[in-house]
């Protein structure tokens, strides 16, 4: 493939939306209220919409007959490049919203930079996504404040979730080879430059939510290289079920 780096780069971006969208979709019909149920489904819908744009573009670059669905559903676990954060399960609503918040702040900053990409397709997709993700970020940070500064029970649950998920935040700013190559070519975003502003914003929201900022300096990474937590395999088993059980069919 001529543009292997670009292809890998797009997958790196899109897999985050794919896996997080799948996680949010699991909640549909099971939310704590009708309003939050609708909002979570909406986030899932936005993310899958983004995934389609990215994978349609990736399929075009691959140019070997693969479709968006082949790329989304027929890779092996080691070939998914999402960060570990987004594959973490919906342990409870605090984990769901904590995961969303820790990703949204990064996602929005990333997309604002991607809008400046010299690759016109990526920049156009980023333009569309920025509007959606601004809403996601507002929604999730409002909920962090509600749950943090709500009842004693919600505060304890929210704090647990943030403490547990914190270890997956640093990976967001880790650069792969494809990332570096794309930055050099002017297509990609230099994620290392987003780190400081990210933690500043996260810390502000956590403070407003009367939560404690975790002090741990031990972080997990590997997702971007396809080394995932044990959770991803099960998620993929569901995501891929139909395509694996009934190969080469149209739906």
């Amino acid at each position: 493939m001529k543009n292997q780096n670009l292809y890998n780069y797009i997958l790196g971006i899109a897999d985050n939306s794919l896996i997080l969208g799948q996680r949010m979709g699991e909640l549909c019909g099971h939310g704590p209220s009708l309003e939050t149920d609708i909002a979570c489904t909406n986030i899932s819908l936005d993310l899958f919409g983004q995934v389609r744009s990215y994978f349609q573009y990736a399929a075009k670059i691959a140019g070997d007959g693969r479709t968006e669905d082949d790329i989304a559903m027929l890779r092996k676990e080691r070939d998914y490049k999402n960060v570990l954060l987004v594959e973490q399960p919906n342990t409870n609503f605090a984990y769901t919203l904590g995961r969303q918040f820790l990703f949204d702040v990064y996602h929005l900053a990333f997309l604002k930079e991607l809008q400046k990409s010299t690759d016109l397709t990526l920049s156009a997709i980023a333009n569309k996504c920025v509007k959606e993700v601004s809403y996601h970020e507002r929604f999730s940070s409002d909920w962090i404040k509600r749950l943090g500064d709500g009842t004693a029970e919600s505060k304890a649950k929210m704090q647990d979730a943030i403490n547990d998920l914190w270890t997956y935040t640093d990976e967001l700013f880790h650069q792969t080879e494809a990332d570096k190559a794309m930055v050099e070519e002017g297509f990609g975003v230099d994620v290392t430059r987003l780190k400081e502003a990210y933690y500043t914003e996260i810390n502000q929201v956590l403070e407003e939510a009367t939560l404690t900022i975790p002090e741990s300096k031990y972080f997990q990474k590997g997702g971007k290289e396809g080394i995932h937590t044990e959770h991803l395999g099960y998620l993929l088993a569901e995501l891929q079920y139909m395509q694996r059980a009934y190969p080469n069919m149209e739906w």
């Binding site: 704590p32 209220s33 819908l45 389609r52 669905d69 649950k157 139909m242 739906w251």
Partner: protein, 318 residues
């Protein structure tokens, strides 16, 4: 108020309905009208909410991204319908919490069809095509019902339902024209959903207890049996079009009636499911009650946070 005055109000009320005027929340209405509407509208809202579960069951396994997005959007529409129907019912003086309570304790019913399991992807097609199809037949007349908030909610609901129905039929058509395995999957789904869909239009007229009063209030414009016939006459040619077979050996076009004759419905099965003993009744309720109970701390937190915010605002003002 004297009995005479009440009778006079009732007379005026009946005349308004006969003139096709809408009854609005603040208007006087007989207690029975209020109660009947609370019962029917909340049952309708509950059906939307419980109805999210059988389809939600396939979101994580939808076979393509396009189908996944469409299914998510559809289930989200159902949540939206539930939301406006609950709001419309609240105008009759009952809170959403009370309605949930009635659902969770089994006092309020929801459409029995959602007590059947969705065990293949083709069920997403069958549910859209048949279940939403039967729902539309039930619901279109309600766009002209006498209670204003209900009629207005139904106009929006019906528009979206007919989109869902086409979407379901399109899923079936794709399967029916696909590989032999896909076609089998579609036929199997039709076999399982056909009879429950016919039952969905309600017991036969002879056994339907609410019909007469509901007709007067325009909560109902045709009898259950008429609606069922309309559904069958409309759906059989659609099945033929995509080469699927309706699982009824007695189904036959009746030239004289210009309608299909059809076989005996298993009413024992219908009543068994209505009474809570269908394949999924317990699971559906467990899922709804579970979501509600597990969500209690989230709702409490939101409430506590809003109060704190309000207090801070008041302090700042002083």
């Amino acid at each position: 108020m004297s009995e005479e005055q009440i009778r006079s109000l009732e007379r005026q009320f009946d005349e308004r309905i006969a003139r096709d005027e809408k009854i609005e929340p603040k208007d006087w209405m007989p207690e029975k009208y209020r109660k009947t509407h609370i019962r029917q509208m909340s049952q309708h809202a509950h059906s939307e909410i419980v109805g999210m579960l059988p389809e939600g069951n396939w979101i994580s396994r939808a076979p393509s991204l396009r189908r996944k997005v469409a299914l998510l959007a559809k289930v989200q529409d159902e949540a939206g319908h539930g939301l406006y129907l609950y709001s419309a019912t609240e105008t009759l003086g009952i809170s959403r919490e009370e309605m949930y309570e009635q659902l969770h304790t089994g006092k309020a019913k929801y459409s029995s069809i959602f007590n059947y399991p969705t065990i293949s992807w083709a069920d997403m097609g069958a549910v859209g095509w048949l279940v939403d199809g039967a729902a539309i037949i039930n619901q279109v007349p309600l766009c002209n019902t006498s209670y204003g908030p209900y009629a207005r909610a139904m106009i929006r609901v019906c528009k979206e339902e007919s989109f869902h129905q086409r979407q379901g039929f399109e899923i079936m058509m794709k399967l029916a024209n696909g590989s032999p395995e896909q076609k089998d999957m579609a036929q199997d789904a039709l076999n399982r959903w056909w009879w429950p869909s016919l039952m969905m239009l309600g017991p036969t007229d002879a056994e339907s207890i609410h019909t007469e009063q509901s007709m007067k209030w325009k909560l109902k414009r045709k009898s259950n049996d008429d609606l069922r016939q309309q559904f069958i006459d409309q759906t059989v040619p659609q099945a033929e079009l995509i080469g699927l077979t309706i699982p009824d050996p007695d189904l036959k076009w009746n030239e004289e009636r210009q309608s299909y004759d059809f076989g005996e419905i298993n009413w024992d099965e219908f009543w068994q499911v209505v009474k809570g003993h269908g394949p999924m009744n317990k699971h559906r309720m467990k899922a709804r009650v579970g979501a509600w109970e597990e969500g209690a701390w989230v709702r409490d937190a939101a409430m506590a946070h809003a109060e704190k915010k309000q207090e801070r605002k008041q302090k700042e003002a002083v």
